[in-house]
Symmetry: D2
């Protein structure tokens, strides 16, 4: 995983063997998935490549899917202890803190893994790259209550997510993603103009810290277009808007309190697909607000 990401145009120039060597590992020990999409190449985006690979898995037989599930190691299991993981699995489990479990935690994982396998007949799979130990345990407990069929489906879903995250480390995303904003004043029933907004990158690829300062225009949108644009700026990670709602409502003449209910409103959100358009708006009054992933 340490080679620099391959661009989509370079990917398009590879022969079949090279293509499979490059992206064959995103489905654990299952190069057949990459092979089955060869004839659909070239791909204009990681999104379309991932969609094709996922469709190949979904339409495979249940036996083939079961083999794919069982091609994965236990989380924090024997393979990990014996250092026999694939490079990809090793990095992912390490990032989730699974390489440094205490003995008690390790025993808990071992016990849950065994219970799970005894109940369902296959290994527990969870896309752990950005998860904490705590999230993994929450998920483990919840999923142990499922039926076998539901878990089988869930494992395949998780495998698609793992493949997505691996593709993002192997390939350079298409240059299509961007981030926009809109602020609506729901007390006034109009776009909020002249609101100051700060954008920070909290974690992920690229500079951490404040990466932009913006002011809304008459339509409540960012003056100057998208806040982030293209695969150099708009990277996978966690971001935070801070909306200066206090100054805006002061300007609007609202009689705010000495300590207003809302003043600087933070909004923390994750970008998982750097090729996509993320619209992350704020609908606010002096006493409440909403946000959502829009389009």
């Amino acid at each position: 995983m340490s080679s620099p990401p391959v661009s989509l145009s370079d990917l398009a120039k590879l022969d079949d063997a090279q293509f499979v060597a490059t992206v064959g590992g995103v489905y654990e020990n299952s190069p057949w998935v990459a092979e089955s999409v060869l004839e659909q190449a070239p791909f204009v985006s990681i999104t379309s490549l991932h969609k094709a690979m996922a469709a190949a898995v979904d339409s495979a037989s249940e036996d083939k899917k079961l083999a794919l599930i069982n091609a994965h190691p236990d989380l924090a299991g024997k393979a990990a202890l014996a250092d026999e993981l694939t490079a990809e699995s090793k990095e992912e489990q390490g990032k989730a803190g699974l390489a440094t479990l205490t003995q008690t935690e390790l025993d808990k994982f071992t016990k849950m893994n065994e219970e799970y396998k005894a109940k369902f007949g296959f290994v527990f799979i969870l896309a752990v790259r950005n998860a904490t130990k705590h999230t993994i345990l929450s998920s483990f407990e919840a999923r142990l209550k499922n039926t076998r069929m539901k878990e089988f489906e869930e494992c395949v879903t998780q495998i698609h997510k793992i493949a997505w995250m691996r593709l993002l480390t192997v390939l350079e995303p298409a240059d299509t993603g961007f981030l926009t904003c809109h602020v609506l004043d729901t007390a006034g029933g109009k776009p909020a103009d002249k609101m100051k907004i700060v954008l920070k990158r909290v974690s992920g690829g690229g500079e951490i810290g404040i990466i932009g300062e913006f002011v809304t225009n008459e339509d409540g949108r960012l003056t100057g277009g998208p806040a982030l644009k293209g695969n150099k700026e708009f990277t996978v990670g966690v971001y935070e808007w801070t909306f200066n709602v206090g100054d805006y409502f002061a300007k609007e003449g609202s009689a705010l309190a000495g300590t207003p209910f809302l003043s600087n409103v933070p909004l923390v959100f994750g970008i998982d697909n750097p090729e996509d358009h993320y619209h992350v708006p704020l609908l606010c009054s002096p006493y409440g607000y909403s946000t959502y992933r829009g389009s």
Copy 2:
């Protein structure tokens, strides 16, 4: 302002002169306001005392209100430079950074003050205790566009807010305030149970930093009742909930992304009335949320 706050029960024991000496200064240079509520004493809360004083002002003649407005100094004006402010005004203007303006900023304030007085015939009043220079300027510019009558009303409104903040430094609040929370899972149409929530005090009276960790019960409310309760805990200030939405939806079996759109949701809110009930809920799905000051 440096004496310790007087309790409401002690306030009730004071004679008329002492009462006026204690709270007479909350309306600038206008002890007549305190005098006019004497016969309504004793007061069970700062809220009821403030309400009575505000009503006395509101029902006064326009001449008397004009005198009250003009009893206030300019913001960053001559009285400030000459160090002739009341102790209350001095502290308030200092906290807003008005004591350390640059010459350019001072000139700007002077010019706006003059323009304002020339247009309306009275001084500009804004409750500045927790405002920044920037908020004050935003407000100044907006209010210069008003009609004289609207501004007259606005100044009286601001004077009531100043009085409120001054009362909070002079008196000890009644022990009635509390903070509650509720989390609703709008994707599942049910209360969000077992969600972890952290409460921090960002600024204000009392310990700064994490002041509580909570878990929601089956009804989506905090196990153990209010998060803060009474005038020792529930103080004027800025607070922050952090909702662990990511772990909750992992537990619910949502197939979240490697970098989920929502993970730890922060919600920053101000408490202005420590005698009141603040209900600050979260309505959330994996892709959006709302909050508001509820009851």
Copy 3:
């Protein structure tokens, strides 16, 4: 299905054979489900009985679940044409308009049923009691794209819903359900008091038309407690609140337009569980509103 509903206290007095005779039909041709919950009797609510029966199904073997699925007739299939449905299935399919399909519609259903069975190896199941032909077709098309395992799970989920609806026709609900409301003025950051609200029953058990007129109190709740309460009033069906938002904001002094954006706000919602508490609030400003199923 034409006998009067049995009360839960009468159900508790029945012997095992009578119990199975009464509720054994709610899982199509599968009295074993009722038999397996006998030792958990008596049941204090339809909700708890249904929960026990559903758990019995969920923990059964996949073979037993497959037999349960295949105990159901095709929707609009041969059994229906030959008039060989169980009384329950006949009534349900009739209510959804499936007894009066045109020949073209019938052909479409037949084709989809065949395609579905060829792909998955079992019959398509959908709880159709209150669905239209159009909803059924939308669902059919969407579900044909699923994997076999996902569809297997979905069929079991639908069977639980069918069982729920059948239990509601056989038994009299516990007297625990009620409907509450709350109106919050998000522009003012306070409960909306003195708002007029009308409640209509649009369809379902009981009187159709206006069934209540209410005014909110100082806390934004209905004066006089729940709008509906108990199994005589709070019945399965579709209801409609109408909130007189226009008069409220006129009273609050909002300068509304000649034709205000919001005036009488309708909110149509369904009650599916008459033993439950439904809280259906309105959060409104003059320019927008939210609602949700709360608790």
Copy 4:
């Protein structure tokens, strides 16, 4: 008011006297308002004409404004009884049901009018064209509690609204208004595609009843552009969207209840400015929704 509306291009051809004859009546008995905007003609929209006239009033002296206020008749007062109203006032008061008050209601209005005039020294003004008797009384009671200055401002605000409504009967709006929609699935975090929406005109200019049926595209917007466009279609009035949320979530595979919480979601909204863009979206999950006037 019975002549056909004048187009903006015809208005532009009128000489000064004709211009004042045409729009001079929109400010009651005060043709000076129309005269003072003559030099800003021609006007491209009713919106810009109204804005200019309102600015002329706002910048007039307080004496001139007081005269304007007092140029209005009492609501349901002596002038009405004596049939001495201007044609405009007569029509407006009639539409609000004030021409057919019972003696008791008339006495109540008379008493409130007298109390109001005694307290403030001018007449009560409310834009009543689309208001009911009940709304007028709610507003009357609330406003009697204001200060004189606040009421003076409020009366001017109401006069601007009356002028707006009168302009809409005298002139033909510019052809710039349109209505758009957007549906977001907040449970799925994506635009809601293939949702069926019906649009009705409930009251106002043009055909009453269903005026359009729409389906959302992949971006959750209406296939085919705006739902209404231009001054023939997009008229002042009350409209209703009905969103077929039930079929949408059935298609998405949500396991809905037999009687789903949400099925057909109605959204009733008013259009007051036919020259403007109204964006009226729906953000929905199976258990809740929001809407607002967007842009």
